[in-house]
């Protein structure tokens, strides 16, 4: 057992310190984030399958999204994937102990998340203005709205949560309160949010394009 894999653990009998091996040779906090990610992936999987079930069992599922919506979706995808890149640059900067650069890249990532949320809310308002509600719409199956708002709303909530977390971590890392591993852990969360969007776009938007 290499000492590099050991961290100080709990106090054992007679006050001796017990060394614990780190699980999978990563900090336990990072492992916790990975476990959260896979549980959240199953949550999103369940919500997307529920949407698919409702869509498949409805004879009059509306095809709603025109080219303007698709262009907006592409722009949102570009912003979110680019923010994944910027958070990766923040992690690299934090691993080089460059606190100013890590803070700057983290804030750019958070700004990307805010911009994504604003574009998404604008699209929501457009659909609401056209008469889409959770249980009715002017075009077809009443549950289209419920499916759309629940999937995209759950994702948007994750984006907003990620923006808050990244802001806290960025400010905290610059002030010395947090370490580089905290930046890396929350970068993992941000990449996961981007990953979910990669499935939301084809399943929600492209499959429901007007033809």
């Amino acid at each position: 057992m290499s000492d590099a894999n050991l961290v100080l653990g709990h106090t054992g009998e007679r006050g001796s310190t017990v060394m614990e091996e780190r699980p999978f040779v990563i900090p336990s906090s990072k492992l916790v984030m990975w476990l959260f990610i896979i549980s959240d992936a199953c949550t999103f999987g369940a919500v997307l399958f529920a949407y698919g079930y409702i869509r498949n069992s409805a004879a009059d599922w509306p095809l709603v999204f025109e080219s303007a919506s698709i262009w907006n979706t592409l722009l949102m995808t570009f912003i979110l994937v680019s923010s994944s890149l910027t958070v990766l640059l923040a992690v690299r900067a934090s691993q080089s102990d460059n606190r100013q650069a890590a803070f700057r890249w983290t804030m750019i990532t958070a700004a990307g998340g805010i911009l994504f949320t604003l574009l998404h809310l604008r699209e929501w308002m457009t659909l609401i203005g056209e008469g889409v509600r959770p249980f009715q719409n002017p075009w077809g199956a009443p549950l289209f709205g419920a499916a759309f708002f629940s999937v995209t709303g759950l994702h948007m909530a994750h984006v907003v949560g990620g923006v808050v977390a990244l802001t806290v971590i960025g400010v905290g890392y610059r002030s010395g309160r947090y370490a580089a591993r905290h930046v890396e852990i929350w970068a993992l969360y941000w990449h996961f949010v981007d990953l979910v969007w990669m499935f939301v776009v084809p399943l929600i938007y492209l499959l429901n394009m007007k033809r």
Partner: protein, 98 residues
């Protein structure tokens, strides 16, 4: 060390470009060949693989971590597929979801 870092940076930008390119390909495929579920899922899965392995650096972690995380998650996601049969039953019994 510096050449290793520049290699990693280069790989990062290549993966970034690839993910964006696949997003564009998804739209083009949907417009030209029709948005079939299978085609969309395959392209999304490729994007997900790139993001997980390169952006989330799971490729650089121990193989035991990959084994602990990936197969179980995929198994749960695949097992959710058992609900599809019921949606086909519904569409034949009741055409409008009211």
């Amino acid at each position: 060390m510096s050449s290793g870092n520049s290699n990693r940076t280069g790989t990062t930008y290549i993966v970034y470009g690839a993910i964006l390119a696949i997003a564009v390909v998804q739209v083009v495929v949907a417009l030209t060949m029709g948005p079939s579920l299978g085609r969309m899922l395959i392209l999304a899965a490729i994007q997900a693989y790139l993001a997980v392995m390169f952006f989330m650096h799971l490729r650089d972690e121990k193989s035991t971590l990959r084994l602990a995380l990936i197969p179980g998650t995929l198994f749960v996601l695949v097992m959710m597929n058992m609900i599809w049969a019921d949606s086909f039953r519904l569409i034949h019994l009741r055409p409008f979801a009211k």
